[in-house]
Amino acid sequence: MFEPLSKIPDGLRYYFGAEARLRRQIEDTAMTVFDGWSYEEIITPTVDYFALFERGMGREQAARAFRFTDTDGRMLALRPDVTSLVARAAATLFGERERPLRLCYVAPVFRQQQQSHVEWRRESVQLGCEFIGLGGRAAEMEMLAVSAEILERVGLKGQYRITLNSVEVFNGIAERLQLGAEAREVMRHLMDIRDAAELRRFLAAFTDSVEDCAAFSRLTQLTGKREILIEARRIITNERSVAALDALEGLWRVIEALGLTDAFEIDLADVSGLDYYTGTTFKIYVAGAGARVGGGGRYDGLISNFGTPESAVGFVLDLDALTDVLTRQPATLMNGSVSEPAITQLSNDNLATLFIAAREKRLKNERVSLGVKSQG
């Protein structure tokens, strides 16, 4: 079959012109913010062993990677995730370094299958950071503060919302109801799509208490500010979940003190990434994007795959999604500052004169465009 070379594979694209400039600007802004919070840039390999990602992301997520074999027959993958690579480096290269480690990166990730129809891309650039070696609220709050600062600096103040939850809220309930793996997954799914009625029917098989069924299905609707925690405490009494609610409340107090409550929300029904995260999780939404543009959380289990167990928390922002949103909002700050500086046109038949003039302009950091004729 004849395939024209003009065809671009699905889910891949070019960036150029104003969009490319905007994208670069967002990237620079994020990296500057990371630097401002003392995050050190780490550049990871683009290709690594598939087994690393399988351990790092879990089998299901890693299965989305583009895979191929190394010369010795071992399976390689185009990096579908950066965190696995950073976690390994933390345990090996930085094994002896003083904790906490603060690392940041900007790197494309490659994934074959999309999880939703909105995820059109197979290559997307992640802006991310990882805070390794310290448990507790301070590290989590730092993630929230850094992500909020990036979003505000790129001109999305008042247009983003970050939701908070802890996987331990769900885990505590599943444990108390003694759910097996399959039932746990059904409950997770029903929570995730927020089908309260179906969840109530489903839970009836696991508890005799009608109040419990009603209460736990009410969780699907618990999205909001601090009052959500008060209501949740009436519903949930198991120790594990209550500890998670305490932690969320602690974070919320800091968010209140920072005057950021409009931009944040507690969402107790957010149950994605249950087998990856081990504590607080968050998701980042921006007006104008139909799907979330980022997220993160605590993943204390990951680094133990590579050595000794260690606390870690991190987040990523999707550079391509942010570029999409900001490209369509011509009035944002970001776009204002991306306007093109003037260009000086230079032309001269004498090449030496032309390039001497050009060098002078360039030494003053002016933009030049040379009128070069083809001279063979």
Binding site: G158, T163, D195, T223, Y285, R292, L333
Partner: protein
């Protein structure tokens, strides 16, 4: 269409102000602004549309008869807070997943077939029907499990149903008049939406197995659920109240 609205409102604003950057800073937050853009609800055309508009009206979200009869594909309700857009059932999840519509009303059959990644907070109990397997009356499907041919508009539901049972099938995708396929010998059976079963009977078919029940669902975009939390909570509450009344009655 909230994106479009917010861009427009920003442009208007900018026109009256000196500097675009100061206009952004003073621009009221689109999340907490009282003059929010309309909440857009995509509704599946056909029977679902009639039932959904009736249910919405009972919940206090009413479009004028004039608007409804106008054949316009996008109309506003009387309060000016909601916009309804009427699209083909299979397109409802598309609009909602992309956040172009904040919410949608669509049958569970469509959600199962498209596998859309959406919130499904409310079963509206309207347009009730079932997804069933049907074959020519008297035909024993079990005798032919080696290579059964299934004609359907729902290839994904068919594949997952038979796949889970380890039954190999050849799925023949059609886009309408599926009942004809077994009659003319294109397939051994069909997997289709059944409401009363009359069409089946009239074509010499019988329902063999009910695979799933389907009703109209309210679906919500994941980002809208957070970014338009108040407006959506209000809609959910008023619709929920009507649905519960219906169940108790």
């Amino acid at each position: 269409m909230k994106n479009f609205d917010s861009v427009n409102s920003m442009k208007d604003k900018q026109g009256n102000e000196e500097s675009p950057s100061s206009s952004l800073i003073s621009h009221p937050s689109s999340l907490n602004n009282s003059s929010q853009p309309l909440l857009t609800i995509a509704i599946a055309k056909g029977r679902m549309q009639t039932d959904a508009l009736a249910l919405l009206a009972r919940a206090g979200v009413r479009a004028s008869d004039e608007m409804i009869k106008s054949r316009r594909l996008a109309i506003e309700d009387e309060s000016g807070k909601y916009r309804f857009v009427f699209v083909k059932p299979a397109d409802v999840p598309v609009y909602v997943e992309h956040g172009i519509a904040d919410c949608g009303i669509v049958g569970r059959d469509v959600l199962m077939e498209t596998g859309a990644d959406l919130l499904q907070p409310l079963d509206l109990g309207i347009a009730r029907c079932r997804i069933s397997l049907a074959a020519r009356t008297g035909r024993n499907l079990k005798s032919n499990l080696g290579a059964m041919r299934v004609a359907t508009k729902y290839p994904r539901i068919a594949a997952s149903h038979f796949g889970a049972r380890g039954i190999p099938v050849e799925i023949i995708q059609l886009s309408g008049s599926v009942e004809l396929a077994p009659v003319l010998g294109l397939s051994d059976c069909i997997l289709d939406l059944v409401e009363t079963g009359r069409t089946l009977v009239e074509n010499g078919l019988e329902e063999v197995e009910v695979i799933a029940e389907s009703t109209g669902r309210l679906v919500v975009n994941r980002a809208s659920y957070q970014l338009r939390a108040e407006a959506i909570a209000k809609l959910l509450e008023s619709l929920g109240r009507i649905v519960n009344e219906g169940e108790e009655a």
